[in-house]
Symmetry: C2
């Protein structure tokens, strides 16, 4: 179950092509709603419209999302037999917060499969560390349960590792100090949250300030339906250029299958 | 110069939020216009509307693009000081062909730069091979000049290399058998073409049929303005799953700077 997340991303139809929802409290970092959370909120309205889950969805972030009611307007651009393509906009307090474009389709097993990668090796959940120290944790750190490999967590203590890589566990609804339930089912909307729940990887680079790194664009490809249990995640970056950086994410399920792939383009604000 | 490409992707304003253009002949593979070409055509209208070049642009492909007049409708979602976010749709003969969403902004030098990668090593342009054998080349193979590392070209002769990687040169307007002009200036729209001009990388995998591999979604991040000269490109894949595969691209300029990064999700049609 991912009950808290499901409730916080619930949407209600409100007439032709319109949904209402709520940017809930506790899913923010310092008052700005998390980008993966907002993506999931928008994608739920899009998926409901076409009766299919996201396969590939892109969000461009227009303005910070603040706690409060929101409205999602959805337009179906193509309603094919297998694939539906949908555009949407999420607005709140009269401001457009994010613009979305996605293709929605069920996963269809079969066809060629060739994988040249393996999930990240992680110590047990309990031996990994919280993404931010508990004292500094916002509510967001209590909503999603992220545990980072200790040797990737240097950014927490102003000791950047020098490697733009962060690997760790993701789950919902764990007790703060316990291992997560092995039978927890995370769905495809949970994957949209997982890809934006860790600290920006370039915080582990020397010369990159640890602070706010707003996402300009985030694309997620759903590559499978997760088997129950916590997710293994890996994020990395190779190019910080002129204050912009990409962050590539992989999310693997407990069976060892890649279930989501993400890339975002984010900004290191200039002083 | 990239004169042929500029002419083939030219768009004309046609009233509030509307542009006309032409899906030109010769930019297709077996009658379907190339995805990078269509992306560039749409992005030109978006860029013209906001007076800024693409920074990150995503296209979802709705229907094959056939030669003929096309119309692009553009909507500005945010017109900020630095960043403008724009949605667009390209239609032809009454069918929507692709849906686009992008953030447009000038490149702004400065800010942190940390790069952990190098351009692909390539033999001289003349020692690399055409992406498809000349006899099988469509007009597209004469419009863009793609030369592949010989050891990545196994797919051409039904001898897949077993590695889902293709590296090579990209330029426009070279004489068929000559090295390209070293002073050729490729612009950011040319980059949108470059990321979709090579053969699908998974054609180099055993068990993946060489045929049509339609792109569902393509995202390009422009990471710099190219210095003059041909571009060095690398494409690779790690996950073919259930007949869907991602293809990641890097495009480097003659100065050794990454100028574009791309990812697409594409489909291996089932027999």
């Amino acid at each position: 179950v991912q009950r808290g997340f499901d409730a916080a991303t619930a949407v209600e139809p409100a007439g032709e092509g319109r949904y209402t929802g709520r940017i809930d409290s506790g899913w923010d970092i310092a008052g700005n709603a998390n980008g993966g959370y907002l993506l999931a909120l928008g994608a739920r309205a899009m998926a409901d419209t076409v009766g299919r889950p996201p396969l590939s969805v892109t969000a461009h972030y227009l303005a910070p999302g603040r706690v409060g009611l929101c409205e999602i307007s959805v337009e179906v651009l193509r309603g094919g037999r297998r694939m539906a393509t949908v555009a949407a906009r999420l607005s709140s307090n009269g401001d457009d917060v994010l613009a979305l474009l996605g293709t929605f389709a069920d996963q269809v097993p079969g066809g060629p499969t060739v994988v040249d990668a393996a999930p990240p090796e992680l110590p047990a959940f309990e031996r990994c560390v919280r993404s931010v120290p508990p004292a500094e944790g916002s509510g967001f750190g209590d909503r999603v349960h992220v545990r980072v490999r200790p040797d990737d967590a240097g950014y927490r203590d102003a000791r950047p590792t020098g490697r733009a890589e962060i690997r760790g566990w993701f789950t919902f609804d764990a007790a703060p100090d316990d291992a997560p339930p092995a039978d927890q089912q995370i769905d495809v909307f949970g994957l949209l949250q997982a890809v934006d729940a860790f600290a920006p990887v370039c915080f582990n680079l020397d010369g990159v300030p640890v602070g706010w790194a707003p996402t300009l664009e985030l694309t997620v490809h759903v590559r499978g339906i997760p088997s129950p249990g916590p997710l293994r995640c890996r994020f990395h970056n190779r190019f910080v250029q002129d204050g912009l950086f990409e962050e590539d994410g992989e999310v693997w399920d407990s069976s060892g299958k890649l279930v989501a792939q993400s890339r975002q383009l984010a900004l290191i604000p200039r002083g």
